[in-house]
Amino acid sequence: MKKTGSQILLECLMLEGVDTVFGYPGGTVINIYDDLLDYPIRHILTRHEQAAVHAADGYARATGKVGVVIATSGPGATNTVTGIATAYMDSVPMVVITGQVPTPLIGNDAFQEADIVGITRPITKHNYLVKDIKDLARILKQAFYIARTGRPGPVLVDLPKDIQLASTRFAYPDSVSLRGYKPTYSGNVRQVEKAVRMILAARKPVVYVGGGVTASEASSELMDFVQQIQAPVVTTLMGMSAFPRRHPLALGMLGMHGTYSANMAVTNSDLLIAVGARFDDRVTGKVASFAPHAKIIHIDIDPTSIKKNVRVDLPIVGQVKDVLVKINKELQAHAETTAELPGMTVAWREEIGEWTRTHPVTYKNSETVIKPQYVIEKIRELTDDDAIIVTEVGQHQMWTAQFFQFSQPRTFLTSGGLGTMGFGLPAALGAQVACPDRQVIDVSGDGSFQMNSQELATLVQYQLPVKIAILNNNYLGMVRQWQELFFRRRYSQTPMELPIDFVKLAEAYGATGLTAARPEEVEGVIRKALQTPGPVLMEFKIDREENVMPMVPAGAAINEMVLAS
């Protein structure tokens, strides 16, 4: 039977198991939206296309499934750009469908025309302009395949209006054949053997964990590995929830706002085992001084990540999970030596323990003013273990990373690579759609929150019970902190001069608004928010000039930390 392009699109979504799409209608997708009424696919109408992409991103990060977005041509498509770039940097599987002006008009500067394939070329894993209805099913099959396999990422499919209206016989391909795309999943056995020899010879090993562990669902393999070799674990922002923070071997985050012990451990290690991490500049600081005494083993599914920023002694290209399984097996093949390993590294763990004891992650609480770290600790205390914590970008994000102590994978959703303010609220929305029965908290700053605050409307419309915690300091706090430390306190454009009544703002949208100005009010506000059905906005008027500490100044080595301001 013949189907139209827009029907084929929706059939393909069904066959890919898509139950929810995030989007915003418009002239060039109006046919898709018309047909959508006849398909059992849930559509979440956000208030901005950027938010639709972040919501699909949050949905994908919370579940590992592919997030799907529909947006119209021109401004609808260009509004998706920041969301796509965010997903690309953090390797989030996503398919974005954009409408396009009819093919005869492409290139004519038609109404609401933008070359979105050209615009998104460097920020998508791959993208397509559909020029023939006969290619549509194959392209969609490929789009989902590319998005979710290998190193995951966003794929955009630009669908001109005349293609949506054209019809053809629909047949969904069973398989995908792309001669130029064959990701390496299986780690090379020789390399694995070499890695194990290096691990068994190490006396100061450190395991450096990134988002690749979560992407390949390898947390339990990682735990097995770490338990066998009893090596300390440092994590990136993206790897945060892949290894439980309260585990005795967990040192927390490394890098610019990493813990003292994590940065010292890396700097003094003799073997650094990078697992699904990419040596971002916020992690390495000054590259020449990064892990200067260590041999480096780098496990990554993306060959371009290897040797991009740092020298690597032993690369293993493959899926983190596959490689860890093989390493664990190989360690067992050397059971006797492996069993001796923890004994050989006792001194190393004691040295690190000393760093952790002398320089713990801490802050000075106050009885008169709310400390942001205290709010994070209270949220941790009062929420479930499987609560999904989403953040925006800035100081509150770093405080969350430092103080929340995540224990389960996919419970910390944050824009790590691109650092997108305005990510948190829509991403929390998407996570709540994906996980209706779990607590979802958006930890926010007053600056970031205002970048997508219109999504309060979406939360209320769909009665998504996201709890928003705004750490309000009336500053763009992270930039202010840099200005304080490196620009002689010249606070150029960082004070948010107009104080917003966030309670009223929440109420205007039909959400509940709560506020706390004193430390003793914090717990009550959080408890009340968690007990209140539907979306709740909590505002915490925090110490205005609290800094994120410790801090490695940009360009310094990661062991050259400023410990307190």
Partner: protein, 168 residues
Amino acid sequence: MDIANMKHTISVLVENEFGVLARVAGLFSGRGFNIESLTVAPTLDPSVSCMTIVTSGDERVLEQITKQLNKLIDTIKVMDFTGMEFIEREMALIKVQATDETRAEVLRIADIFRGKVVDVTARSYTLEITGAPGKIEAVIDLLRPMGIKELVRSGPVALCRGSKDIKG
């Protein structure tokens, strides 16, 4: 030659599809890699195009270029000819002023380099020269004193020597 700026000739087999050239060119510009020349045309298999790219950089940069090219979904195969026996050829069309004094000399140079005269007017010769980039340079140097009015170069194309092909 300076190792940091060593020239490399790379062959890239790509899907002969819409936008592939933009993907490759965008990759080079977006990541700050050099392109000295780039040629592209379909291969024996019309669904595949071959790009020959001349670029420069140190070992680390070249490794990234090769890996990043491979990462493109439309890239089927990448081959860096550096360190291999390979044949590199380029064509140039050179329009040279021809006066009574220089006419004979231009023809002699064309002859020495096995070039062809492809257009003649009362005041000019247009020569077609084919060869390795070094040969083209030599011809240009010799013709320059006579007055080159116009010059176009194709950029090199390359194949490895012997029976091995890029797919093997």
